[in-house]
Symmetry: C2
Subunit: 315 residues, 2 copies
């Protein structure tokens, strides 16, 4: 793989930026990778672990001379950051982002982009429940989709170039219109996250079942929800506030369906339940056949003596 | 480890029975392990793979001479099977089960147990989304809890003996009263399963987002739900029908909380969302520290080129 961008500036140094830096290095896609983060602690940690070639204390210094600037911050602050970087953007440079919501980001960032600078939003569908500068790893994007969301007037060469970057980092890429993206993600990500957060919150709040019981006996299903509900609170607050309509629409459908299943339980309608549960099995099969998850039982989790203990000391 | 039971009869030859057979063999806990399943195809498959020492076509023949009989079938058929095996049970033998619900099983099975036979219900909190005679593996119970649910009059020696068996198979054991068990599991397992089933069903049913989109872009959270929603439909139908009140109570709490979060989204109340999401993170930490899940990011899922493809041919 050859160098695609001469200088890539990553704004925000968390899980996604860290994985990008490692994946770009792995394939030699960038001449130089530089970074900036708002908080001094994050910058110091990033510099210490060699997150990228140089960590700047000033966002302007990071952006200056970059031919690609990627906003890797919560969706809610992207507009303000775009305003900050605008004066430093070079003609012909590309600004992109990795936000989980696209319409709100386009509305917030777009107006700040100077003439002659390309703005090509993107969203890699990859992540873990970890966050912060040490959370990244080079393989995060391998085999996962990255959705590119250019507007109608976008420069074809600039779009193709960022697609090559994502492909070079291991992703499969697809193009999607912003509003459609937000509807698809409301189903595949935003509503499931809110539901997982809700269930975990309910469990934490019960008087008749203790926290110790919830924690000890979580292996029967609940713990999968807790992984999702351990995701970064700021990032997710911003997702819900910025993809309000689509998320609320899916949640409306969800509660409607949940009420129907609750009624089936109350009435003892076993046939309704069995039919429903049989149908949902097929979707899992489709996801595995599409290469979007492992077919190994229980995600390939280690089953052995206290799998958590070996790493608990790391925290 | 030495032999605890001379002849163990497993009734129902699926994931749990298969894992028990392998775990008992690993530690040499049983003199002989025999099995019975209702359908001929399951019996043939089990015999072919050496599931246990002998697979019987007759439930009576399997049970005869056993000092431990374990019902490893969906909760809804346990009563009928108990009636079938009753004439063949030896004095001093123990009958147990592995059902996810305990009060309904006790009510259904208890009346059929002859005098002089011990009935000691149990529930191993372990499983995967796979089912059938080939799904079992010896490590399934390692480090996981098995809840033993004896009634007040249970024989202390018989209870201690089945506890030793589960410990020998790798489990940690605890004792719990039946109704409390059903309330705890409604939170840690039954409600989360119904919620996952519901979300997957909703996604399958959307007109504006295609199934291909749901499947391809599932990595952003949804696919964790599909694993849970791929669990055995018959088993889960029976769980909900037999732990109706506790499950409906938790689902009521869940919808109440979900409505509050939906309102926060609609009103743009970011502080409410952020506080809620911060609180739920702590529960994940508790589960990892208690050794009930791995701390490795994303469950330690393989991130690489199409992780599903390598095993898709096995199906």
């Amino acid at each position: 793989m050859s160098v695609i961008y001469q200088r890539v500036a990553l704004i925000g140094l968390g899980l996604i930026a860290g994985s990008m830096a490692l994946a770009m290095r792995r394939a030699g896609l960038a001449g130089e990778i530089v970074g900036y983060a708002r908080t001094a602690a994050t910058r110091e940690k990033a510099a210490e672990i060699g997150f990228c070639d140089h960590v700047y204390d000033s966002i302007g210094a990071a952006v200056t001379g970059a031919d690609l600037v990627v906003l890797c911050v919560p969706v809610g602050v992207m507009g303000a950051l775009a305003a900050e970087i605008a004066p430093y953007l070079a003609k012909g440079a590309t600004v992109s982002d990795v936000g989980s919501v696209k319409r709100a980001v386009i509305d917030a960032v777009g107006p700040h982009i100077p003439d002659g600078v390309h703005f090509i939003p993107a969203h890699p569908l990859a992540g873990t429940e970890k966050s912060g500068p040490t959370a990244g790893f080079a393989e995060l994007f391998d085999g996962r989709w990255c959705l590119i969301v250019p507007d109608d007037g976008a420069d074809a060469a600039a779009v193709a170039k960022i697609e090559s970057l994502w492909q070079g980092m291991g992703s499969k890429t697809d193009r999607m219109e912003a509003d459609h993206h937000d509807r698809v993600l409301a189903v595949t990500s935003h509503a499931p996250h809110l539901i997982a957060y809700t269930m975990v919150g309910v469990a934490d709040d019960l008087a008749r079942v203790t926290d110790a019981e919830v924690i000890n006996y979580s292996a029967a299903g609940f713990r999968d929800f807790t992984r999702i509900a351990a995701s970064d609170p700021t990032m997710w607050r911003d997702v819900f506030l910025n993809n309000k309509d689509a998320t609320l629409e899916i949640l409306g459908r969800f509660t409607e369906e949940l009420f129907a299943l609750q009624r089936a339980i109350r009435k003892g309608d076993g046939a309704h339940l069995h039919d429903y549960f049989t149908r949902t099995r097929a979707i899992r099969r489709g996801i595995i056949e599409a290469g979007q998850d492992t077919d190994v039982a229980d995600f390939g989790r280690v089953h052995g003596e206290n799998p958590g203990e070996s790493t608990a000391e790391d925290k």
